[in-house]
């Protein structure tokens, strides 16, 4: 498996060197950056899988320096980023993990240097795993949706062509009928009426097929969106502190999703079963009466 490529940006050269060595030992390829400019250039090149950015990238003693966060906000929205700092504040967490106007948070995690290198490693691994899993699921679904969309579109187009063809044949039959039976007015009327009814029914059938194909496309898109929500909710459950809570939360997410997705289908099945039961009961009653 190819090594994940990380951008590690910190103006503290000693810390940068130590962490690069640590992360490389753990199997990552690390691209170091010691300034916002270098970090931005690497991010914009799109050559990294994720980035770890120090919050104060210009001056460690400047409380107002949020240059690392600015880089996260301005560069490569699609690359997941972790904000790292020696001076964690809740206001900075808000800025880093809260959604911006575009609806996307600048960073996916916020780590204090005091938490140690292992905490950073865990955060990196989790982000890469989640990102990979998310991408795999999304890619798979997107491929399926695209294929179904193509199939459904083909089906819809074919249905429209067939309905147009049938309509033309219907018109031809009407004219032919009129031409052939000009001598008898009653026959003309009957032939025309029958031709119109048959043509209308067939055209309606084909249009219905096209509508079904379009509904299928809509359903696929709905399923795609819902599965992405589920993915996010499961990731949120993973973040809970107690194991028991995680399980309960996951169970609730799955239950809610199952009710939402399969509820109508289950209701339909139950309704059908009730109908069968009712039919069986009435059959038995009839047999008992006849005896």
């Amino acid at each position: 498996m190819a090594k994940a490529i990380l951008l590690l940006a910190d103006n503290d050269k000693e810390y940068l060197g130590t962490m690069c060595e640590f992360l490389e030992r753990k199997g990552f390829k690390v691209l170091p950056a010691a300034s916002p400019k270098e970090a931005k250039a690497i991010l914009d090149s799109g050559s990294v899988d994720m980035a770890v950015l120090d919050l104060r990238l210009l001056n460690d003693s400047d409380k107002l320096d949020l240059s690392g966060l600015d880089v996260a906000k301005q560069s490569a929205v699609h690359i997941p980023k972790i904000i790292l700092t020696r001076w964690p504040k809740y206001e900075d967490v808000r800025e880093a993990l809260g959604t911006q106007l575009n609806g996307v948070p600048p960073a996916v995690n916020f780590i204090a240097k005091q938490e140690g290198s292992e905490a950073l490693l865990t955060a990196i691994t989790r982000t890469l795993n989640l990102d990979t899993k998310y991408r795999e699921v999304s890619d798979h679904l997107v491929a399926k949706v695209s294929q179904d969309h193509v199939d459904a579109r083909r089906q819809a187009t074919m249905s429209y062509f067939l309905s147009s063809g049938v309509a033309l044949i219907g018109i031809a039959i009407i004219f032919l009928g009129s031409y052939k039976t000009t001598s008898n007015l009653l026959e003309v009327a009957v032939t025309n009426t029958l031709a119109v009814i048959i043509t209308g029914a067939v055209v309606r059938l084909f249009f219905k097929r096209a509508d079904v194909a379009n509904d299928r496309v809509d359903q696929r898109y709905r399923a795609l969106i819902q599965s992405q929500w589920m993915d996010k909710l499961m990731a949120a459950c993973e973040e809970l502190s107690l194991e028991d809570n995680k399980e309960k939360c996951k169970q609730r997410v799955i239950e809610t999703a199952a009710n939402l997705w399969f509820g109508p289908e289950r209701e339909y099945r139950q309704k059908r079963e009730r109908k069968w039961e009712k039919a069986n009961n009435s059959d038995e009653e009839m047999r008992a009466d006849s005896r």
């Binding site: 809260g98 948070p105 973040e239 809970l240």
Partner: protein
């Protein structure tokens, strides 16, 4: 109160002073409904509130509550307010699904700012459109 935004506040009667402050501060944009944790989760599901304010000082397990709200209503905007904000609790809240994390100040202006920004972001017309469905 049709045509007004209705906020769901998850808190307790013990926090009466803060609730009153919040009610007065948010009065220009909408009305508040205060509920306990369990009732609130049911309401989020049945009524479909889109803007929820969680008082972290009275909720036992904020991440669990956030996950439950998200499970019921993924699009809800959930603000966590706390009297003792800390960076690690803020991180935990965001990762559990909070939309924002603010301190419970005496004048609640921070919440008003956050809520107003969200209303603007969603393009809602306060005077004509309710925030809940």
């Amino acid at each position: 109160m049709s045509g007004r935004i209705e906020f769901l506040v998850i808190s307790s009667s013990r926090e009466h002073h803060w609730y009153e402050t919040l009610r007065k501060t948010l009065a220009p944009v909408g009305t508040l409904r205060i509920e306990t944790e369990e009732e609130a989760v049911k309401l989020v599901m049945s009524v479909g509130y889109d803007l929820v304010i969680v008082d972290a000082t009275v909720v036992d397990n904020v991440p669990l509550l956030l996950a439950r709200i998200r499970a019921q209503r993924p699009s809800a905007y959930v603000v966590v307010a706390t009297a003792n904000p800390s960076w690690d609790k803020a991180r935990q809240a965001f990762q559990a699904g909070a939309s924002d994390y603010v301190s419970k100040s005496f004048d609640a202006t921070e919440i008003l700012a956050v809520v107003s920004a969200e209303i603007k972001r969603r393009g809602l017309d306060v005077s004509h459109k309710p925030f809940r469905r």
